[in-house]
Assembly symmetry: C2
DNA sequence: CCCGATCGTTGGCATCGCCAACAAGTGGGT
DNA sequence: ACCCACTTGTTGGCGATGCCAACGATCGGG
């Protein structure tokens, strides 16, 4: 019997490993974004606009997995900073059409660099091949979950 | 020139891929834990106690990366549920010694199963070899930043 | 004996992800 | 033309998370 009050078995690493790692990544990204007065939502929105072009707020929410109410607040902030423009859709009076401004594009490229550095520091201990493999697996997981 | 108002380049996936994936994992874990009336902090604390044995609250915080104030709240909850015991350290009147109860151990094993299922569903699209590789890489990353 | 460090605790803050409700508008069916 | 289901933007709220500042009590070293 290997019981007794001794320490314990090695915890089923995989379960919590995920939690630990995601928390770590989360923190790095948030720190990096916070340093340039941005938040995750800002990047989600700008990136979605850059990739797929102008859209209504609801559509933007769908692209980036944001709730409609959070899109409102985020667009408010980005608009106030001059990074996006919000104007009524002539063809559908319910919708607003959101567009990135040149200033917004510059900001996005800035955020890209900042996030790249965060990722660089997070994945520092992995080789180039490993990083590619990791990215590939993450893509697989994301695609599988829609 | 393939410019014009057309869509855009493929966003530097790696940067945001991390964010997307961690968000996903985060949500799965939180859902799974919420379904059994638990939170991430609960598991962090119970797991730390199981692995390294009884400890003061500050020590528990260090083990699991929790803030002292969050340890207070979490121990309150776990104590009220009968999963841990908190009693003064006879050798140091500043400290409380926190211990897992048998009921707490049972709960922890329950949480282990629940988290295992969450991980199972998250990593579903990966082969066994890939999962091992992923876990290995995550461990590498965590140790490096440890 | 004094001073710096540690401990538990309280209270606060910003972000995040989500949900409910509402008014305005749209589109399809009849 | 009317009704009805649905979408959209907006407001307001909730709980979890990860932090930080301050406090009073206590401890340990000089």
């Amino acid at each position: 019997m290997e019981t007794s009050g001794a320490p314990r078995r090695l915890r089923g690493a995989a379960s919590w490993l995920l939690g630990q790692a995601t928390t770590h990544a989360h923190r790095l990204v948030s720190e990096a974004l916070g340093a340039v007065d941005a938040r995750r939502y800002h990047y989600s929105l700008l990136a979605a606009l850059d990739e797929f072009g102008p859209a209504s707020q609801a559509e933007l929410g769908r692209r980036g997995g944001l709730d409609r109410s959070d899109v409102v607040a985020t667009v408010n902030e980005l608009e106030q900073k001059g990074f996006v423009e919000r104007r009524p859709d002539p063809g559908d009076k319910r919708r607003n059409i959101v567009t990135v401004t040149p200033s917004g594009m510059a900001h996005l490229r800035h955020l890209d660099r900042v996030l790249g550095q965060a990722q660089e520091s997070l994945l520092a201990p992995l080789s180039e091949a490993e990083r590619e493999e990791l990215v590939r697996m993450l893509n697989t997981v994301l695609e599988h979950h829609g």
